[in-house]
Structures are given as structure tokens and as C-alpha cells.
Symmetry: C2
Subunit: 632 residues, 2 copies
């Protein structure tokens, strides 16, 4: 938008204009009378020029950018105004000038479009609220969590009378975003940052500063992508023209920018740990000591949640899941709080939320929350490629009821919808409702490996369990005792002669096999990518049918800290003083360079139907892969 | 899935198996005991083989198909069972055998995935209900509206005892689809077609017929894509294995097919008309006769809605919009009923819905319905290409409030959501709230053209209007009379000296110019693709601000029937016995091969703030372009 005025050469009485096919112009005067060329030159004649800029690459932009550029005025009439609303559309952390693709989003390394974070952390640690729930900026540090947007103008000191700049967003967008700007007056009172548009404010005038100036705006994301929100946010800036007394102003130029809100991203076991979380209870001192030793050895940080906070709820895995959000200019971890809401329910908000540590939750309003909503039932695979399609951030894994089941427990739809809507780790639904507790971490985990796909899938396997016990019997150790020293003590021969246990484990193996097939298909795995750990289950007759629990500590339910594994101590039969189950597991995992530490969780976890993994949680570094580079 | 049994060679006592890395097998006997190879050969040994088939092209399938193929049994043990759930995934109208891509959807000419229609017509014309609202099939003709799905099996006469086939869908899918099959018994009573899965039935056993057989299923779509439904429907078939007394059956093989429900597709003015709809009222006899003459001349069918049905509501354009749904095997027109609900409200359901004429509507539950919900405010462009992105079905155009307006009327969100969710004609929102009636058809239409983009956009233009009147004055026709013979009669000089009218039309031109810019940008148009028709507006002072209506009959509000245009007769000033406005419009349109018929709609339409287009509707042939070939 350019404005000629005031400084016409003496004697000039009229002017005319020539321009190319993509340039639009319009001549007005304060009286508003528009006439045909040659145009009379009145003292305040205004020439407005806009130009369509066509994207250089075909098909890369839904909305071609229309923006003003310098107009080569051959008549030298004087001042021009250039206006551009700018964002970091090339995702390099810097707001470039008038990117032709700023008005659209395209995934991939050759894509474009700016990135926005949900401001879901809390700048304050005392009397916390989520920053996104406050419609003002109280600490300058909060600007870090927002994306910069710059209004660049280059023109006369003032716009012609009655013209004004206005920023505007749609009703829907106002639920997802707020825009702030520093105040432009020098008053000593009042807020330094003013909300321009956002909740309840769809349109607002913004100052035209005059000359060659930049006005910085700060854009704050309010909501994560979800079933009803694709994560895209559009912000418009229009130049309004007065239409005379009695008529509304009409826009004569509109500039549009688009942001994509960062999805919430999970971190697989193959990423480097940062902190390990575990609960302290009145009965888990030995367990806690073992975990502390392991974490100390690895050099990570241990965070203990004490009893005043956990109130006896030891299932640190189940109340929360760690993830992160990422943009070119900033990133931070975000804890997803489960709708499970056991006695640990206040922990994520009270103890984890803070500066640069975000918080998000989903409330199950009309849905029944079940054990499947615990986040031991929410895992993520390492990066995989499936039939040529790559998932560089891995795929989310959850457990649900088997589809042919006429009734069964499921993860609440509201959490499932959230997970699917993040898009960058396309989820896989496994069948976990065959278990009493019903969590996928009861039969599977991933460990890093130096070869092949850089990881192995570990699966619980009753077949592998029976193989170990039969082999012991064959080698003359039939009288060796499972659970040595514990009240549950039982010989290998007794275990093998239990027909009921055999039938139960055949059923369990069938359930795991179906999941194995799904995992192979959805993660593109070969049999060589899978290791079967020798674990037996037993089946309890529940009201709603038979469901399984681990017969002895479920070794697959382990904590993975780099190449160090904290594995539930199985209390298997001893041969030459060594636990045959531990020996077998070592022989499967140590060739991959993994170090096995067997941790006694029998009384405080196993007997309560959980194990090491259920009782811990790991905050990990973010993936080096940036989500916007995904080809979706 | 293959089953060896019964016909082992005499003396055989055991067998073993070798197979490639993607083949999975499992040996069971009726007793359920699984053992290691070599397997003992009991009379009912069962060998189950499945194989992963990897898609041949990389990255074309989210879900790789796992399906059974013929197993090259070197041991000649006998019968094999092959099971495949098949659909028309290559979209040629025929259900092919075991398409490797049947489990996923991909847009485009090289895409894949089967297509489903919403069964939104009514096979009966008396006591109508939408077929999709009835969970049974009462007429065989209804099968036409469904997609065929075939269960192909090739194997022994019966499955081993306890094994069974089951079809299953998710809770969400059950709201969008029903599956029927013919009954397999020969009973003379009961329904011939049985619902297998659908509303309230998520899983159901299906018969295994034995030998080499095909069992046909018929899949019925129930819901159009919408904000909360992407149009994809997944149906699964599993083979369940018995796990012994007290345990649920577990699936050992699952085949999955995916359908995409056809979107509702609008037809632009450039498609061939089939039928013209118009209302008969007690005051529109002459108008009706003119329309009949025009339609007869063109050779199309005229459908008149009589007063007992329209109850005086003459706005045929506003109550409904014609569109269609399309699949490789079948297609039919579908009327979208507006939430406007004037006195014409029963017409779409009562008079249009019928065999192979579908019906869909959206109810504004908690939203205020405004004049912008009338479908004179819903149009579609001809096919366009914008910055290399092609829209072969055109783009939907609606009118809303200008985004900077603090208050204003809008099309209801429920209708907007529906339109956006169809995806194949990505909508454009224009600014139409500056008009009293507020419909886009008051300032724009499309006509066919032999050159350039094969169409022109016609826009109402006050500037072009003033140009005609000024030129008349200049040529000495200042005393010529507008509205000759009507009470409103006024001279050219008087019109031109009306400063208020000038100011009003400057405002209107500004409003149209903003829309012109949006249309140029979103449809990729050049100025040469646009024709400005000379139309003046006047502005009324309404409670909520000034809003515009056409000053004389709004010629852009025309009916387009191939190259024949039915244009509101403008009653312009006569020069040499000819209307100067008609002459101008003819000079703009006739060079394109278009024939202009000016129709007097002054009293029964123009005075009531509508014109020819508002008072008519056109059912058109479907586009030759098939929607699934779109590259989305």
C-alpha cells in the first residue's frame, strides 16, 4: 500500500498510471471521489497499489500471498507506504521479511509455515496457573514461549486521514490464540504488553508508527491440536479505507499469516534420559535404594515423589506421560496428566508444572475412566520405516479392548482423540484388555540395539517361559525351586505339571501373538527385531471374564536408561546358585551391549500387580528430528 | 488361513515346516496342545499360515495388508483354506480379488481404496423415509446404493471345530456404516437380507460356506463427512481360534478393508442443465411463462412447485442446493436442504427425495439462522487452477460477515462445517453481509466461455453502471428515463445528480472490490477473466447499519442454462427504442457466444429484493471428473 501525497512538483495538475497485469491500483482523494485517468492531482490525492505475488514453486500454497511491494513510480510524486505482516515461515528461528509462503502451511523439509507453542507452562512457581489461562503477560520471560510476528511498515509519518490498520481473527481462531504487542505510548503506568486480539476480541486497530518501522507482536498458542482443531491458526492484518459518513470502513488490502501449533510429542526408550521419577512409600525403601543406585550409576537425576504428595499411590508410570513441544525458536517438556486420577493426581500440576515445563490434560466428562487410561498403557516406539513410509518420531502405542469383544475396557475417547490429533506419531491400538491391569507395558517394551533398526521389541512370551522350565526339567533340575525363600515356593516339576496353568498360558500366548502380528505390521518389524522374554502368566476369573496377571515378576516391565536396564527380579529356579530366568534374559540382551540390573520389586510392586516400569517414569531429551520436517 | 486335515498319507506320523521370513504359521490340534517341530500328525492337526504382503510401491499405504495366500505345501497334506475380504479398491466398479491396498485410502489417479455412498435416497415414493434411517433392506433396488464387499473363501467344507469367522467394526464406525448379507439358509420366512454389523452391532459371526465360495456383503454409508468424521470407514474380518473352556476366543488372522464415503459435490453453471425448478405463485404468471419459454427453447425439463407446496415462498434458489454423490458403480443427485426453512421448507423432502434422488440437511441447533443461510449465498466456481493447484470440481463460494466486523450475520457454523468437510471443492468465504439480503448471487455469477479458462466471472459493478449513465448524458440522452412506464420513473440526469446515491455506490464498489480481490486470488483469475456488469445499488439504513439492495433489477442474478442466459430485465433508459443497459450487457456477453433473454421479474421478485436466480434452481449433470481422482 503506497500513498502519494503533498509533495507533487509545482504546476502538476494531473497524473496517470501504467502497471503490469498483477498490479492493482486505486486513486482516491479525501472527498472520496474516484475519477478516470488522467487523475486530477488534489493536495491529498492517494494512490493505493497492491500486487499479487505468485509463489515461485507450483502447488506449494493454498493461499497465494497478496502483498505490497515498492512501486516504481516514474512520476516521482513522493512518499510510499509499504506494509507487511511477517513471521518465521521458513522455520529458521528468525522472522524474515515478507515470505511469499507466510499465508499457508506445508509439511516437510521443503515445506513452509510458522510454528506456534501452546503456552502451557507456568512462569511462576508460587500460586501457579497455566500461562495460557491468563490473558496478560506478567513476566517478560513469558515472551520466550510465544512466536514473534513483526509488522513492518515503510512510508509516510502518518496514514491519510480515516485510513487505519486492523488485526483480525475468526471466532474459532480466537479460542486457539492470543496476540500481544508492547504499548507504543511512553506512559509510566499501565501494562507494558497489551492484548491485541484473542479471546472475545476478534478485531482491533493496531498503530501505524510511520517512517521505516517494525512493530513486534507476540503470538501465544492456547490449545493443542485435537479432534475438532487441526492446529492451524490464521491471523490477518487489513488496511481499512473510510467510505464516507454513514458507511462502514472497507478493507483495501489484507495480509495473512498462518501458524501450526506444535503437537505434543512423546519420547521413546531410545532417547537419552534426563530425570527418573519414582515414589517413596512406607514399604519400598529397598526398591528405592536399588533404583537410586542404578540412576546414580548412569549419571541421571533422580526425582523422588514423597508420601505427603503421593499419598501411597506408587504408580508413577500411570499418572502421567512426559512429552515435549518444539518450535524453531524454543522448546520445552510437557507432562500429559492422565484422567486416571489416583492419589498421585495432584503431582503433575503441583510438582512438575513450572517455568519451561508445560502441563496438559484431558478430562473424561461423560466417559467411564478405566485402568486402561493409566499411562502404563501409553508408550511410543523408536523411529521406524514401514513400507517406505517413515515415522522418524516413532509411533504411539496404546492398548484397548479387542475389536470383536462385545464388551470391554478402553482408553477414554477423549484421550484417544488427543493422541490421534497430534498426527506426528500416528498411534497403533493394541489389545491389552486381556490383562487384569490392562497395560501394554505388561507385555512389551523397546530397548536400544547397535544393529538392524537400532532397537529391539521385547515381548513377554509364555512359550519362551515354558521352554526354559522344560529345559531345566530335561537337564535334571525338575526339583529346583521357583520363588526360593518366598512363601510361594514351587518346583519346576510342579509348575510343568499344572495343566490349568498351561491352558492359561496358551490363551495368553494367543493374545500376545495377535499383538505381535499387529506390531510387526504397523512398525515394519521382522522376527529378528523381536526378542521373546520367558514370562509366565496366570489367569484370574473376574466378573467380566478371565483376565491375566504375571505369574512371577514380569521382566518385560523394565526401566530403560540408555544401555542400562532395570529389570524386575524374577525369583526363578536357581541352577548353580544362579537364577535360570535371569541367566536366560542376560543371554538374550547382553549380546546387544545392554547391562541388566535385576531389581527386587516383589512385595511393594509385583504383589500389587505392577513392576519396575509401572513404578517409575523417565523424562528424556527431545528427538533431534523436528516435527515440521515430517512428510505428512 | 489354511487347514490341513484328515487326508495325510498313511504311515505319516509327523511333519515339519519351512517358510520364508514374511510367512507365519502355527500348528494346533483340537486339544489345543502346541508342540515344537517335528509336529505330531493327529487326525485333526491344523496348520495355519498367514503372510505379510508388502505393497509394491513405497509409501502408498498406511496399513500394510496381511492376508493369506496359497501355501506351497511340499508335504501334500491336503486341503487348504484361503480367506479374503474383498472390495473394489481399484475403483473400476468390480470387486477384485485381494487387492494389496484394500486396507488403506489414497487420493488421486494412482490412488486406491473403495468408495461408499451415503444411502440418502428413498426407494419408496409413498410414506418416504431416508433409506439410511431404516436398518433393513425392503427393496432389492436398494442394493444398488450400497457397495459390494465379497468374502472369498477356498478351503475345506467346514472350519475345524470351534473356529469361526467374525466381522467387526469400531463403535465410531457403527455410526457411519451398516453391512448386510443375504441369508444363507433356504427358509421361506424371514428377511432375505440380514444386517451383519452396524448400529448397535459391532461384531457378528459370518458363515463359512466351505469349498470355493463367495459370500456377497452390501455396505451402506450412513453419514456424510463432517467436522467430526473424515469419511473413512474400516471393516474387519477375523478368524477366531478357540482357546479352551473358560477362555475367550482369540483372533489369529484379521483382514481389513477401507472405504471412503463420497462427499456431496456441487455443480457449477458450466455443467449441462437437466431440470429447472421454479415456483408458481398468485402473482408471477408472466414471469413463469418467460421462464417456460426459455427452458423449452433450451430443451430442458421445467419443474413447477405449485402454491399448495410453496405457500407463497417463491425463493426456489434459497431453500435448497442441488449436488450429487458418486462412486465407481453408482451415482445420484442429492439435494442439500437449507436450515433457512421458509414456507418452501417441505419441498426438498416431500417433492425431491425419491428413488435415486438423495436428501441431506444440517440443523442449526443452538445457532441463529439468518438470511445468509439461504443458498443464494452458496455457489460453486467452474474448474480452476490456482498457482499450480488444480480444483477440477471447482471451489464452493459462500458469503459471510467481513472478518473485521465486530458484529454481523454469518452462514451457520453447522452448514459451513459440512461444506468444508466435503474437501473436494475447498470453499472460499466472501463478504456478503454488506447486502440487506446478504447473498453472493447478488453480486456475482459464472457463465461459460469458449476461450481462456472456459468461463467468465460476472461481477455487479456500480462503476460500470455510472459509466453507462455518464456516457448517456454525454451523448445528449440526459433526459432519457430509467424505469420507463413504471411509477419509479427517473431521468439519467436526476440519477447522476444524486450525490447520496453516488456515495452509496462508492461504498458498494469498495465492498465488491474486496470480494473481487479474494476471488482473483482464490480462483487464480486475471482481470481478463472478469466482466463487470453495469448495476447500481442503493443503501438502506437498517438497525444494524447501512446495507445495500439493487437499485434496478440486478442483472448478475441470472439463470445460466448452457449458452442461454435468463437475465433480470433492468428497465434502463431507452435510446432509439432500446434499453441502454440491455445493449451494454449484450455487448459484453454476446461476443462469448452467449444468448441473452431479459426476463421481467420486476413486480414479483425485484420489488421483494430478489431476481431471476433467487427465484429458480437448476439440477445439472455431474462433472465428468471423479472426485477420488483428486490429488489432495
Amino acid at each position: 500500500m503506497f500513498v502519494f501525497y503533498r509533495c507533487a512538483p509545482p504546476q502538476s495538475k494531473s497524473f496517470s498510471i501504467k502497471c503490469g497485469p498483477n498490479v492493482h491500483y486505486k486513486v482516491t482523494s479525501p472527498a472520496g471521489v474516484r475519477s478516470a485517468a488522467p487523475y486530477p492531482l488534489t493536495p491529498n490525492s492517494v494512490l493505493i497499489v497492491t500486487m499479487d505475488t505468485v509463489s515461485e514453486t507450483a502447488n506449494d500454497s493454498k493461499v497465494p500471498a497478496v502483498h505490497p511491494i515498492i512501486f516504481q513510480a516514474s512520476c516521482c510524486l513522493g512518499s510510499l507506504a509499504e506494509i507487511s505482516l511477517d513471521v518465521d515461515a521458513d522455520r529458521d528461528g528468525v522472522v524474515e521479511k515478507n515470505n511469499p509462503n507466510k499465508g499457508s502451511w506445508k509439511w516437510g523439509p521443503n515445506g513452509h509455515g510458522a510454528v506456534l507453542l501452546v503456552n502451557c507452562d507456568s512462569e511462576t512457581t508460587y500460586k501457579k496457573t497455566l500461562d495460557s489461562e491468563v490473558d496478560e503477560i506478567n513476566k517478560v520471560s513469558d515472551l520466550q514461549d510465544m512466536s514473534k510476528m513483526i509488522l513492518r511498515t515503510n512510508g509516510p509519518a502518518e496514514l491519510p486521514e480515516g485510513y487505519k490498520l486492523t488485526m483480525h481473527i475468526s471466532q474459532t481462531t480466537s479460542e486457539n490464540v492470543r496476540v500481544f504487542r508492547p504499548r507504543t505510548s511512553n506512559a509510566f503506568y499501565g501494562k507494558y504488553y497489551i492484548m491485541v486480539v484473542g479471546t472475545d476480541t476478534l478485531t482491533e486497530e493496531v498503530p501505524y508508527l510511520g517512517g521505516k518501522t517494525e512493530l513486534a507482536f507476540f503470538v501465544e498458542g492456547l490449545r493443542f491440536p485435537d479432534k475438532d482443531f487441526d492446529g492451524l491458526v490464521t491471523i490477518n492484518l487489513s488496511l481499512l479505507e473510510p467510505c464516507g459518513k454513514g458507511f462502514p470502513e472497507t478493507p483495501i488490502f489484507t495480509d495473512t499469516v498462518v501458524f501450526h501449533i506444535s503437537p505434543w510429542i512423546m519420547t521413546p526408550n531410545t532417547l537419552k534420559p534426563v530425570e527418573v521419577y519414582v515414589c517413596s512409600t512406607n514399604d519400598n525403601y529397598t526398591f528405592l535404594k536399588s533404583i537410586k543406585n542404578l540412576v546414580d550409576k548412569c549419571g541421571y537425576k533422580l526425582k523422588i515423589c514423597y508420601e505427603y504428595m503421593n499419598r501411597g499411590d506408587r504408580w508413577m508410570q500411570d499418572e502421567l506421560e512426559f512429552g515435549y513441544i518444539d518450535s524453531p525458536h524454543h522448546q520445552f517438556p510437557v507432562v500429559l496428566d492422565s484422567p486416571r486420577d489416583g492419589d498421585l493426581q495432584d503431582f503433575p500440576y503441583e510438582s512438575i508444572l513450572g517455568p519451561d515445563f508445560g502441563y496438559v490434560t484431558r478430562n473424561a466428562l461423560n466417559e467411564k475412566v478405566s485402568s486402561l487410561d493409566s499411562f502404563g498403557n501409553l508408550e511410543v516406539s523408536p523411529p521406524v520405516t514401514v513400507n517406505g513410509k517413515s515415522y522418524p518420531l516413532g509411533r504411539i502405542i496404546i492398548g484397548v479392548a479387542f475389536p470383536t469383544a462385545t464388551r470391554g475396557r478402553n482408553m477414554t475417547q477423549v484421550v484417544q482423540d488427543f493422541l490421534w490429533a497430534q498426527k506426528v506419531q500416528e498411534p497403533i491400538a493394541l489389545y491389552s484388555d486381556w490383562l487384569v491391569v490392562g497395560h501394554v507395558d505388561e507385555f512389551m517394551t523397546f530397548v536400544p540395539a547397535p544393529d538392524r533398526k537400532k532397537f529391539r521389541l521385547l515381548l513377554a512370551s509364555p512359550d519362551a517361559g515354558y521352554k526354559v522350565f522344560k529345559s531345566l526339567q530335561k537337564k535334571g533340575h525338575g526339583e529346583a525351586e521357583m520363588f526360593p525363600g518366598l512363601p510361594e515356593v514351587i518346583s519346576v516339576n510342579e509348575i510343568l505339571s499344572d495343566k490349568k496353568l498351561q491352558a492359561e498360558n496358551r490363551y495368553v500366548q494367543n493374545c500376545i501373538d495377535w499383538n505381535r502380528d499387529v506390531l510387526k505390521k504397523e512398525l515394519g518389524l521382522d522376527d529378528e527385531d523381536i526378542i521373546d522374554l520367558p514370562i509366565l502368566f496366570k489367569v484370574l476369573e473376574e466378573k467380566t471374564g478371565p483376565r491375566a496377571v504375571a505369574y512371577y515378576p514380569d521382566m518385560v516391565n523394565m526401566i530403560v536408561l540408555g544401555d542400562q536396564l532395570g529389570i524386575p527380579k524374577p525369583f526363578g529356579p536357581k541352577v548353580n546358585g544362579r537364577c535360570a530366568l535371569e541367566t536366560e534374559v542376560r543371554s538374550l540382551l547382553e549380546p546387544l551391549g545392554l547391562k541388566c540390573t535385576f531389581i527386587d520389586d516383589f512385595a511393594p510392586y509385583h504383589k500389587l500387580l505392577g513392576e519396575v516400569h509401572c513404578g517409575s517414569n523417565v523424562l528424556r531429551e527431545r528427538s533431534p528430528f523436528r516435527w515440521w520436517n515430517l512428510e505428512l
